[in-house]
C-alpha cells in the first residue's frame, strides 16, 4: 500500500440478505487531505464507514486503514476519531461527562478541554446533553471525534441539522485539521456541503462507486452549459440546429437555446456560426456546471 493512502479497500462489500448495501468498493483516501464522501440517502455511506470502523464485518473484500488490515480494527482505531450516523450521547450526562466516558474507554486523558474549545461548546459543557440543540450535539460529536489527537477523522454527515453558519464553521474546522496533517473522511448526502472543503471526492450511488479522485479533475471533466438567445425568436430553430452541430445536449426553452456538455470553446464557435448564418445573438452565457449537475450526470451515466 502506498504510504500516502490513509484508507484503501479492495472489493469491499456488505450484503443484508438479498440487499446489497455496498458493492465491490475500491476506496482510496489520501493522507492529510479532506476527502468528501458523497451519495444520496441509502447509497451506503454509513455502511461503508461502519465497516471501516470495525462495527460491522464486510461480507467480502479487504482493506487497510492507516496501514493496518481492516479485519484487525483494534490495531488502528486508537489513531482514529469518528462520528457515525449522528451524534450519540447519554442525555442525562453533561457534555463534559460524555467526553470523559469516551476518553476513559480510549485510555487517553487530557484532551477534553481542547476538544470542547475547538468545537466551541465550552460554555455549555456542564449542562446535560439532553438540553442541547441538534446543532450543539453535532458539535459535541465532533469534539468527541477529536479526542485523543486522531490521525484519521471519519465523520458521517456532520453537517446534518446545522444552519449555514454551523456548516461553514465545520468546514473551517475540517480545513484546519487537514492543514495540521490530519486525514479527514467526511460524508454528506449533499455535495454542496462539501464542495468547498474537499480536496478529494468519492461519489457513491446505490452502493457502488461513481467517481473518485481530485475535485478539480471532476470539475474539468464536465463542460459548461451554454445559453444563447437570438435577437429574433424566429431564428430559434435555426440556432438550435447550429448548436446541435457543435455537439452536446441541446434544448430550446424560454426563447433561448441551451447546450449542455459542449466542449471548450463551444461558445465562441456557436457565436461565429450563428453570425455566419445571419443570426444575431442578444444573449450568450456560459454557466459552469454545479457539482450537483456533475453528480447527477455521472450517476445517470452509471444507471445506463
Amino acid at each position: 500500500m502506498p504510504m500516502d493512502l490513509a484508507v484503501r479497500t479492495v472489493g469491499l462489500e456488505k450484503r443484508y440478505g438479498e440487499r446489497v448495501a455496498v458493492e465491490a468498493l475500491d476506496l482510496a483516501v489520501p493522507t492529510g487531505r479532506v476527502t468528501g464522501f458523497v451519495g444520496p440517502n441509502g447509497a451506503g455511506k454509513t455502511t461503508t464507514i461502519r465497516m471501516l470502523l470495525g462495527l460491522i464485518r464486510p461480507t467480502s473484500g479487504t482493506g487497510e486503514v492507516l496501514g493496518r488490515p481492516l479485519d484487525r480494527p483494534a490495531a488502528y482505531l486508537e489513531r482514529v476519531g469518528a462520528l457515525v450516523d449522528g451524534p450519540a450521547f447519554y442525555p442525562r450526562l453533561s457534555g463534559r461527562a460524555n467526553l470523559a466516558v469516551l476518553e476513559r474507554l480510549a485510555g487517553t486523558r487530557g484532551g477534553i478541554e481542547r476538544a470542547l474549545e475547538l468545537t466551541g461548546i465550552d460554555d455549555r459543557a456542564d449542562d446535560p446533553v439532553g438540553s442541547y440543540s441538534l446543532g450543539m450535539r453535532q458539535r459535541l460529536a465532533l469534539a468527541a471525534a477529536l479526542l485523543g489527537d486522531p490521525e484519521l477523522v471519519v465523520l458521517d454527515e456532520p453537517a446534518n441539522g446545522l444552519d449555514p453558519a454551523g456548516i461553514r464553521e465545520i468546514r473551517t474546522l475540517l480545513r484546519r485539521l487537514a492543514d495540521d496533517g490530519v486525514t479527514v473522511f467526511v460524508s454528506s448526502h449533499q455535495l454542496a456541503e462539501l464542495e468547498h472543503v474537499s480536496d478529494h471526492l468519492v461519489l457513491l450511488r446505490a452502493g457502488a462507486l461513481v467517481y473518485q479522485g481530485l475535485l478539480s479533475s471532476l470539475l474539468a471533466r464536465r463542460a459548461a452549459t451554454i445559453t444563447a438567445r437570438p435577437e429574433h425568436a424566429a431564428d430559434l430553430e435555426a440556432l438550435a440546429r447550429i448548436a446541435s452541430d457543435g455537439g452536446g445536449h441541446v434544448r430550446v426553452r424560454d426563447g433561448a437555446v441551451s447546450a449542455a456538455g459542449a466542449g471548450p470553446a463551444a461558445s465562441a464557435r456557436l457565436n461565429r456560426s450563428a453570425h455566419a448564418a445571419g443570426i444575431t445573438l442578444a444573449e450568450l452565457t456560459v454557466a459552469a456546471p454545479t457539482l450537483e449537475e456533475i453528480f447527477f450526470g455521472l450517476t445517470e451515466d452509471g444507471a445506463r
Binding site: L55, I56, A82, Y90, L93, A100, V101, G107
Partner: protein
Amino acid sequence: MIRAFRGELVKLRQSTYLFGIAAVIAFMLITLVVSVTDPGPVAGDRGPAGLVLSRDGLEAADGLARSLGNVVTFLGIVVLALVSVNIGGEYRFGTIRSSAVRLPFRGRLLLGKTMALFGYLAVTVVVTVAIAAPAAQLMAGPGVDTERWWGREGVAELMLGTGSLIAASWAWATIGVLLAVLLRSAPAAIGVGIAYILPVEILAVEVAPDAAAWLPGQLIVSLARGGDNAAAQAETLVGVASWATIALVGATLVFKFRDITD
C-alpha cells in the same frame, strides 16, 4: 477491561442509579414488615414475597439474615430493570457505536461494564443491609427476642447473608446483561426478564417441582434465602455461578460477533 470499568463509573453518577438504591431499600423495608413483625408458630412460604420464618426460626442467629434474603425476588426485578436500562440505553442512544470505536475489544468492553455494575450492586446491597438491619430490629419490637441476631454467630450469619445477596444481585445482573444484549432494548429485556422470573419459572416449578433444583431464578432465590444445610447451599452456589457464567459467556459471544448496526 479497566478502561471500560472506569468509563462506566462516570455513567453510574446518573440519578437513575441512586433511584435504584432507593428502590432496593424500599423493597427491603416492605419485605421486612412481612418477614419480622408478629411471627407465627410455623413458617409460611409467600412465594415471591419470601419465606416467613416461624418464631423460633426468626429468633435464631440466622433469623435476621434469612429475613433480609426475602428481598431477593424484588432485588432481581430492580437489578434486571437497571441493567436493561443501562445496556438497552447504549443501543437506544447509539453510544454503543462510539464506545466500540473507542474500545474495539468488545469482550473487554462488555465485561468491564459488567464489573462496574457488579461494584455498584455490591454497594447497593451493603447500604441496604446497613439500613435494613437496624430497621428490622425496630420492626421486630419487644415481642421478638432478637438477642441472638447480634451475637457472634448472628453477625457472622448477617455477613454471610449479605454476601449471598450480593452474589444473587450479580447473578440477576448477568441474566439482565444477556437479555439486554440479545434484545438490544431496555423495555424488551425488562419485559422478558420479569415475565421469566415471575410467571414462567413459577409455572415451571408448579408443573415439574424438580426443576426448582436447577432453574436459574429458583437457584438464585434459594441462595439468598439461605438455609440450615451448608452442603445444599454450596451446591446452590455452584448452580448459580454456573448459570451466571453461561449468561455472561453467551452475552459476550453475541456481543463480540454481532454487527453493531444501531
